[in-house]
Symmetry: C2
Subunit: 431 residues, 2 copies
């Protein structure tokens, strides 16, 4: 019996006979030859059939097999310098499993709306396939980093009871006799977990009911959020930096073929090395004004500001100590200037902007209670959160990284919607 192989690991079968199972991605023929472009889910490979090696029926079946038909082929793996993967298959057996109906996605240009309506098929296409394989590597690298650096995965809940920070961007659902809200961040729970486990991370889907139709917004997206007990802002920045360098280098190692298919210039990614630039918020404002932005001290950055700023640097920039008014109530104030917070955003280069947001949390019960009052939040809903400052409060910090924005940057594409298999947006809930 012939060994079953996959295209991703075909190199180890050089010279051997193997069986491949997959789908017909494309083909061409020239008299005595048929060139089948096979995809098996792990990669794309050319499979060559010589007329003389087959009965006329089989050769004709191969020649006329419709796009996306399912196939089983056997043959010998041969090195081929013209191939992107370095090998092709000399076919000696061809079996058509299922002849596809006429495939809706043709080599001609389709509009994004049409392609998104056919997302369940579009993900078979070479570029979409590449993006989603990069995504899998990003997620794997994220988990490996935290698992290998003493963090414990502790999942935080999706259903949350109170609309703590205003309901405008929350999805709500009837939860038996009450209302529940879908989480926007595991932050508060993460802090409880850090007090129990030291260094933790949560990693799951989060939800924002924003009516934004921009290339940076999804209603459902994945976020990883590490949180560390006994950690200050400086240490938090060191971890974020070390973490990002690791993730980028893993993707560069594992996804060469995919980044090439995406025509991603990898030089800017190779420059993602320590140390990142560190920029105090006040210095960032000064710099932005020099560069022509009319931003004022106290303002949060707009997307344009992030773009202008990151274009000045060859690697990510960490802007720290944003005005407290721009950040969440639980952020610790800067002891040197209480108008500022002990926060940090990491801005990706090449104009991609914010991919990480985080900071040191307020550990004083008194200050935290005052903030809850100042923000007119329902104090009762935070009693359990206050407990974390009543029983062994410690300095702690953490951050969140959005998976889709990170993948968008690493793939060098424009819109986040292609970085998740079935994106959910303001006007997109199907398929």
């Amino acid at each position: 019996m012939v060994e079953r192989a996959t295209i991703e690991t075909i190199a180890k079968h050089e010279g051997q006979e193997v069986e491949l199972r997959g789908w017909l991605f494309n083909k061409r023929s020239s008299g005595k030859l048929v060139f089948l472009q096979l995809r098996d889910g792990t990669g794309f490979m050319q499979c060559v059939m010589f007329k003389n090696d087959f009965t006329p029926e089989v050769f004709e079946a191969a020649k006329h097999a419709p796009q996306e038909s399912s196939l089983i082929v056997c043959g010998t793996v041969r090195a081929d310098a013209r191939s992107k993967i370095g090998f092709e298959l000399s076919v000696n057996r061809f079996e058509l499993l299922h002849a596809a109906e006429e495939y809706p996605i043709t080599p001609k240009e389709h509009g994004t709306g049409f392609l998104m309506d056919h997302r369940h098929l579009w993900i078979r296409s070479r570029l979409q396939h590449a993006v989603l394989r990069v995504r899998a590597s990003v997620i794997r690298a994220i988990r490996d980093y935290f698992d290998n650096n003493g963090f414990l995965l502790v999942d935080t809940p999706i259903f949350t009871p109170a609309a703590c920070e205003g309901t405008t961007t929350l999805f709500e659902t009837k939860y038996f006799e009450q209302m529940a809200y879908l989480t926007q961040s595991g932050q508060l729970y993460n802090e409880a977990n850090a007090m129990a486990f030291g260094k933790v991370y949560c990693f799951g889907p989060t939800f924002r009911a924003e009516k934004s139709k921009t290339r940076r917004h999804l209603t459902e997206f994945w976020m990883v959020e590490p949180e560390m007990a006994f950690c200050d802002l400086d240490e938090n920045m060191r971890v974020a930096e070390d973490f990002l360098v690791y993730v980028v280098s893993r993707v560069l190692d594992e996804r060469k073929i995919e980044l090439e298919a995406l025509e991603r210039d990898t030089a800017p990614l190779e420059r993602v090395q320590k140390p990142f630039h560190r920029l105090h918020y006040s210095d960032a404002i000064r710099k932005l004004n020099e560069l022509g932005s009319d931003i004022s001290w106290g303002d949060d950055f707009g997307g344009d500001d992030e773009t202008i700023l990151t274009q000045q640097y060859d690697r990510p920039v960490m802007v720290h100590r944003y005005p407290a008014a721009c950040k969440a109530f639980y952020m610790k104030k800067d002891p040197e200037d209480p108008r500022l917070s002990m926060s940090v955003d990491v801005l990706a280069p090449e104009g991609y902007g914010e991919i990480v947001g985080g900071g040191q949390r307020e550990e004083s019960l008194e200050n935290l209670m005052a903030e809850v009052e100042k923000h007119q939040l329902p104090r009762e809903a935070f009693e359990w959160y206050f407990d974390l400052r009543r029983y062994g409060s410690v300095p702690h910090a953490g951050f969140g990284l959005g998976v889709e924005r990170t993948v968008t940057w690493l793939c060098g594409i424009r819109h986040v919607r292609e970085t998740i298999a079935f994106p959910r947006m303001l006007e997109r809930l199907t398929p």
Copy 2:
């Protein structure tokens, strides 16, 4: 400067001076000695202070430090045969960071309601801590298994457009101008992904609005679902078996201290080896009747049936070919008896019951359409799913494993609610 260490990896610091940061879990004193039980999130360790080594103020502060106060201690790591972790710390520096208020969870017995109301603190307790560390290992092992065996992680959406299989157990949310439903399974999307990537898995939270108040139900729980193109029921069973053996052995390796804290008898877990018992549904019914159950051919198993059946075996049992009527519409029929489906459930031993459900999917467009009609499902909502049978249909199969039920079994505890940091149940949405 003294190196900072964690209790989990304290063995590598034997004889060295280290710094530990954590919380006071318990303490006792006897004249010239104070024994501090320190927890740092990674483990529990005894730290010993001799009166003569400290100023009276510091020694008194240690002696009277309230439970769950946060501490920094420095000292020398010494082997100690009486210690569960094999080491204790001879303290030479003690710093009280934050003196806790009176801690609500005392060594006395508390009711589960009280403890669940204080879940953000209860997770600091030794047994809860152990369970959640087992959970993290289970999740890590699951991901490693699939990542290392050619599966690609492809996340499936949480928001789904149609209430495909009845709305009674679905949570719904207003999605701008439409309604969306929270996913109960990534199954349908997984199949699209398998046709694009070959072998895939999704792993995320899933939701069931069941009004069940049993020890096996959560409204929000995590499920991993692998799906394989070019795979039949037999191969699916082999993968499920291989996968489970791997996960159990990883947990046994990594979580010795935690399983010991839980007083888990690990002998039954060590017997989780290939091959598992395979039992045809009809044989299972016969066996159950012999054992005194009044179940009839055609019935689905009740919890009691699973308990009785699994108590007959020393390792997991795979029951295959349940009646089609008990399973989802997309399950392939048994070619040898169309009343049956090509399904499999894996039942955990020791009475724990179903932890895996899966099977081979219907790959014929015609049969699938007939099933959708028979189940009176809205055909239009399934057009995209039908496409998977129009364009290169292939035999495919997969399964789902519930994380919380698996952790319950491995920890040998009674109720799923302790296997997730912040459980969500019929009457529990807080903290």
